[in-house]
Symmetry: D2
Subunit: 352 residues, 4 copies
C-alpha cells in the first residue's frame, strides 16, 4: 500500500494509527500457546489442535467449509488464486486491492496470472464495472477471466453489504467465474455488518475466502477457506509448494482456537471499529479536514493540510495514502484505547 512509502524513524512503543499489524497479540494467544505446549504431536497438521481449529472454523463457516492454515495474508491470497486458476487466467480486482498493490507481484509470480484492476470510488467492485473486462472470453490472444477478488472490508475501510456480495457472486457464477474474498480484516466486517461470518461469505456465494487473524490480535495466523470442495481437493500440495506448511502446525492452530473459542475475534474487532467511529466523530467537524470514506470498519481516511502531516506523524505514526491529495489513513487496532484518540485529536487540533 502506498503507506509504505514513509519510513518510520521512531523505535516507539506508543500505540499509533499506522496499521492494525503494528499492535502485538492478544494475551489469549500466549495463554493458548502455554496450554498446548506439551509433549509431542505429529507435525504438519496431523494433530488434535489443528483438528480443533478446523472444527472451530467449520463452526463459523459451515460444515462444508474446508479450511487450511497458513502464516501470512499474502500467502492466503496468492494460494487462493493459485487454487482457482491456470496461468492463462486473469483475476479481476479493484486497483486499490492488496493483491494488486501491496504484495510485490506475488500473485503474478506464483500463479502466472494477469491481474485486471479497475478503478473504483470506494474500493468496491460491482458487476457493472466488471462486465467490460469479460469481452475477450474465448479468444486465445487474451487472458481469460476466471476469478473476481474483493476485499471485505475494502482497503478503503468500506464494507460490502450482503446484497452487494450476492450480486457479485451471482454475476461471477453466471459468467463461469469464481468469487474470492480477501478477508484479512473479516472480523471487522462481521462486527460492522452485525452478521455471522457465513452470512456474507459461504451463504452469499463466496467460493474462496482468505480469513485473516493477524491484523486482529493474532501473531501470524491466516486461513484459506474453500466453500467449493473441488477447489480444495489438491490444495494441500499448493500450500506445501507455496512454502506455507507449518511443521509445528499446532501453534498456528492454537491461534485460531484462541481466536474463535471465546469470541476473541469479536471483542477485538468491536473495539477497533468502535474507536475508528469515535475517531471519525472527533475529527469530522474540524476545519480543513475532510473524511473521505464512510467509516464502516477500523480505518479512517481523511484529507488534511499537507504541512501538518509530518508534524502529526512525529507524535503518532500513520501513513499517507494519497500523497498528491494529502489523504492519510488512520487505522485503529484491537488494543487502541479511547485516550489514544483523545490525545491524537488534541494534537491534531493544535496543529490545525
Amino acid at each position: 500500500m502506498s503507506n509504505s512509502l514513509y519510513v518510520c524513524t521512531m523505535n516507539y512503543m506508543k500505540r499509533g494509527f499506522a496499521s492494525d499489524n503494528n499492535s502485538g497479540v492478544s494475551p489469549e494467544v500466549l495463554e493458548k500457546f502455554a496450554e498446548i505446549n506439551k509433549g509431542h504431536v505429529v507435525g504438519y497438521g496431523d494433530d488434535i489442535y489443528t483438528k480443533k481449529a478446523i472444527n472451530l472454523l467449520k463452526g463459523q463457516f459451515g460444515e462444508s467449509a474446508i479450511p487450511f492454515l497458513v502464516f501470512t495474508g499474502t500467502a492466503a491470497n496468492v494460494l487462493s488464486i493459485a487454487a482457482a486458476t491456470k496461468s492463462y487466467h486473469s483475476v479481476i480486482c479493484a486497483s486499490t486491492a492488496h493483491i494488486n498493490i501491496d504484495e510485490c507481484g506475488a500473485p503474478e509470480k506464483f500463479s502466472g496470472c494477469k491481474l485486471l484492476s479497475v478503478n473504483t470510488p470506494n474500493g468496491k467492485l460491482h458487476p457493472v464495472i466488471i462486465a467490460p473486462l469479460l469481452a475477450g472470453k474465448g479468444f486465445e490472444h487474451h487472458v481469460q477471466p476466471r476469478l473476481v477478488s474483493i476485499s471485505q472490508p475494502t482497503e478503503m475501510g468500506t464494507v460490502y453489504t450482503v446484497e452487494e456480495i450476492k450480486q457479485l457472486s451471482a454475476f461471477a457464477h453466471e459468467n463461469k467465474l469464481l468469487l474470492h474474498m480477501d478477508g484479512a480484516r473479516l472480523a471487522n466486517a462481521a462486527v460492522s455488518l452485525k452478521l455471522p461470518f457465513r452470512a456474507f461469505t459461504a451463504d452469499a456465494g463466496v467460493d474462496i475466502l482468505s480469513f485473516g487473524g493477524t491484523k486482529n490480535g493474532l501473531m501470524a495466523a491466516e486461513s484459506i477457506i474453500f466453500f467449493n470442495p473441488a477447489l480444495a481437493e489438491n490444495f494441500k500440495y499448493i500450500r506445501k509448494q507455496g512454502m506455507q506448511l507449518a511443521s509445528k502446525m499446532r501453534f498456528v492452530a492454537a491461534q485460531f482456537i484462541a481466536y474463535l473459542e471465546n469470541n476473541l475475534w469479536e471483542r477485538n474487532a468491536i473495539n477497533a471499529n468502535k474507536l475508528a467511529r469515535y475517531l471519525c466523530r472527533q475529527v469530522k467537524g474540524i476545519n480543513n479536514l475532510t473524511v473521505t470514506q464512510p467509516v464502516q470498519a477500523n480505518g479512517v481516511f481523511a484529507i488534511v493540510p499537507k504541512e501538518i502531516i509530518e508534524k502529526l506523524r512525529k507524535e503518532f505514526f500513520f501513513y499517507t495514502w494519497n500523497e498528491e491529495a494529502g489523504e492519510v489513513r488512520w487505522m485503529t487496532s484491537f488494543d487502541t484505547q479511547k485516550n489514544d484518540i483523545d490525545e491524537f485529536v488534541s494534537i491534531l487540533k493544535q496543529l490545525l
Copy 2:
C-alpha cells in the same frame, strides 16, 4: 522425506522419535513473547526486536553476514535458491536432500531451476561426484549449474567436517558456482563439531545459509543468511514475493533472540545429540539390528526386522526411511529424556 509415507494414527502426547518437529517449543520462547508483547512497533521488520535478532545473528555469523527471517525451512531453502539463480540454472544436491524430496517441488516451482541430484552413500556431496555434472557448461541445450546445495547435518544424520566444506566451496568457486547450506538443524552440527557456527559456514566459504530454529525448540523461525552481500541486495523483494514477510515480524525475531541470547540453541542441541548417541549405544549390540549411519547429530538410522516395525511404532511413533531395506529413522529432540530411550529400547528388545 519418505517418512511421511506413514500416517500416524495416534493422537498421542508422548515424546517419540518421529521428528524433531514433533516437539513443542522451549519455554524461553514463550517467555520472550510475553516480554516483547507491548505497545506498537512498525510492521514488517522495521522494529527494535528485529534489529536485535539481526545483531545477534551477526554476532554468531560475523558482521558481514546479512540475515533475513522467514517462517519455514522450505522457504529458507527455496528463497536461497531464488536469490542465487536464474531459471536456466541448475542446483546440484544429494538425492536425499530435503530440497530434492521433501519440498513438493517448491524449488523448481519458485525458481524455475532444475535440480541435479546425485546418489551418495551418506548424504554428503564431494567435488568428485559433482564434477561430471558440469560437463554441459556453456551449452544452451543444458541447464547451467550455478549452486551446490548441501545439508549440514545431512538428512542421514552425518556432519560435514570443516575441511569437507572448504573443499566443496573451493571447488564451487573455482567453477563459478555458489555454495548453499541447508542448516535446518545447524545447531546440532555445531554441537557435534564443537565449533562456533561461523567456523563451518562463513569461514568455510559458504555463500548462503538456511539457518533453522524450528527443529531445535523454536516455533516457526528460520533465517536466510547471506555471506555474499551482492546476493542479498534485492532479497527483500524475493522474500516478500515469496509470501514470507511477517507483518508482526517482532514475534519471529523474538524467537531468534530467545534462541541466541543465552545459548538456548546450544543447550537444546546438546541434549538432542547426546541422547541420539545414547540411543545408538543402547541398540548397537542388539541382534538383528544394524545401525546404518554414523550418529553425528540427532538422528539414528537402523535396519530392523520388518515384522517388528509396526509393533514398535504403536508404542513410539517414528518413520521408516527405506521401506525395502527395512531401514528406520529415529530422531531425538531438544526435549527427549533418557527414560524415553530406556523405555523405547526395552520394548525394542522385547520385540526382537
Copy 3:
C-alpha cells in the same frame, strides 16, 4: 487485440484490411529458401547463413548490436522482458500495448513480472505519465519498476519521433530503468520517419528491441536485438528455455537475409504506408466517418456508423477496435494494391 473478438467466417483469398499478418510472404523469401536449401549445416544457429543474417542486422543496427532470432513477436517481446527483469520487477507500458492485451499473459507467465499499464491518447508513453508509477521504488511491498516498453509504431498506428524516444530513454536511464521497444512493425516506422533503423533505436537510447519481420512480408522471423551487451550475456539460455531456438536455424536466418540484403523491408513498408495514407485520404471527407488517429504507419483507425460495419466486413475483412465507440482498424500490408482500396472505399461509400 480487441480485433480478435470477431471471428472471420470467410475462407476468402481476397486481400483485406484485417491485419498485416493476413498476407502471405514476399517471393524473395521463398527464393532465398531455395537458394540455401543445400547440404548440411550445424543446427541451432552455428551456420554461415545465421552468421550472415547476424551481420546484416549489425549492419542496420550497429556493430555493437547483439541480435538473436526467434519465431514469433510474442516471443521477441516476452524474452526481451525476461532478459531485463527479475520476477519482482514491473514493466511499464501503454494500456494498448501488445504485451498488455494480446499475448494472453505470456509476459507475466514467463517473467513473473507485473505489467503496469497506463492509458494514453495515442498509444504513446511519455515521462510525465510514467513518473507517478515510480513512487514505490525501494519498498518491498511493491513491484519494482525496471523496464519501460514502447511500441514503434504504436498499436494505434502512430510513430514516436526520435526526440520522443530520446526523452523516454533519458528518463528511463536516470531512473535506472531500461527501455524496450516492440518493433513488430519497425520497418513501417523507419519509412514513416525517413530514418535508418539505428537512428531511432540504438542511437536514441533503446536498450532492447523486438525487431519484427513477419508482419512485413516474412514468414515467421523476428529478432531480439540488445544494445546493452550485459543483457545479452546469458540470453542464449533464455531463448532455449523459452522454446524459441530453431533447430534448422538457417531458414529463420534466410528470411532476414532476404529482408535486409536488398532492402526488401523498405520496399514492403513503403507500399503499406503509402496505401494507408491513400486510404486515409479517400475516406477523410466522407460524412459520418471520422479518422481517429494520425496515419503515420500502415494502420487507419476510424469511427464509422455501427450499422454498416458488418456489411462492410462481409466484403473486406477487418476488425473492430473499440466496440462501444464503433471504432474500426484498417491495416494495409506489403501486398495491398491501390485498387483494393478503391474497391473498398467505393463499397464503403455505397453503404453510407
Copy 4:
C-alpha cells in the same frame, strides 16, 4: 544431449551424421509454400490450410485426435507437459530423455513440475522401473506423479513395440497417470515398426503426442496431438501463452500438408532408417568398434577408440554421446545417400 558439447568448426556443406536436423528441407515443402502463398487468409490458424493440415493429421491419428501446430520440438514437449499437469506434479522419464537433458530446463521453467528421471539400459521406460517412483502419492511433501513421458524412437535409437507401449499406458492409467510420447522422430518409428502411426499412439493408449516433422525433412513444424479431449479443451491458451501461436499459421500448416498428403514422411523415414541399418552393417565387423544399441530407427551408437574420434569428425561431423566411454552417435537423415556412408566407412577403416 551431450553431443552439443562439441563445437563444430566447419562451415561445411557436406552431408554428415551429426543430427537429422543438420539437413535442409524436402523440396516438397518449398513447393507447397509456393502453392499456398496467395492472397490473404485470417491469421493464427483460422484458415483453410490449417484446417486441411488438421484433417490430414486426423486422417493419420483418428477422428478424435485433436492436433495443434507449433514451431519447435521443445515447445511440443513442454506444452504437452503443461497441458497435463499442475506445478506440484512430477513427470517420469528416462534419464536420457530430451526433456530431461536437452531442453535447458524448459519443462521445469514453464510447468513448474519436477522431472523424475530414471536410468535405463536402452532409453526405454518400463512399469517395473516406474513403480517405485509412485511411493509418495498422496503425501504433500512430495511431488505427485502425473505424467509418464517416453520417446519413440528413444534418444538411443531404439523403438518401443506396441506391446511395450500398451503395458506402459495400462500401468499409467491404473495409477491415474497420463502417458506422453515424444515423437520428434515418430516417422522413423512407424517405418521401423511397419505400422500406421495410430497403431502405436492412439490405439496403444497414448494420451498426448509430440509429433515432429522438422527432423524428417520439414523446416520448423511440430504438433501436439491430444487423444484425450479434456486435455485439449483449453490448450489454445497454453499454446499462445507459450509463445508458439504462429501468426502466418498457413505456412506451418503447409509443411504438414506436404508431409502427409503424399507420404513424404514415409519416404523420408524409409531412407533414413535404411541407411542407418546399412551403416550399422558396414561397421559391425570392424575391429575395435562396438555398436552399442540395436539400430531400430535412424541412429547408430558405437564405441570407437577415442584417438580416432577427432580425426574422423574432421571429415564427417558427428557428436560424441558418452565422452568417458568413447561412445559416438551417428544419425542418418532423409537426404543421406549410400555413398556418404561408403565414404565415411572407408575413412573410418583407414583410421582404425
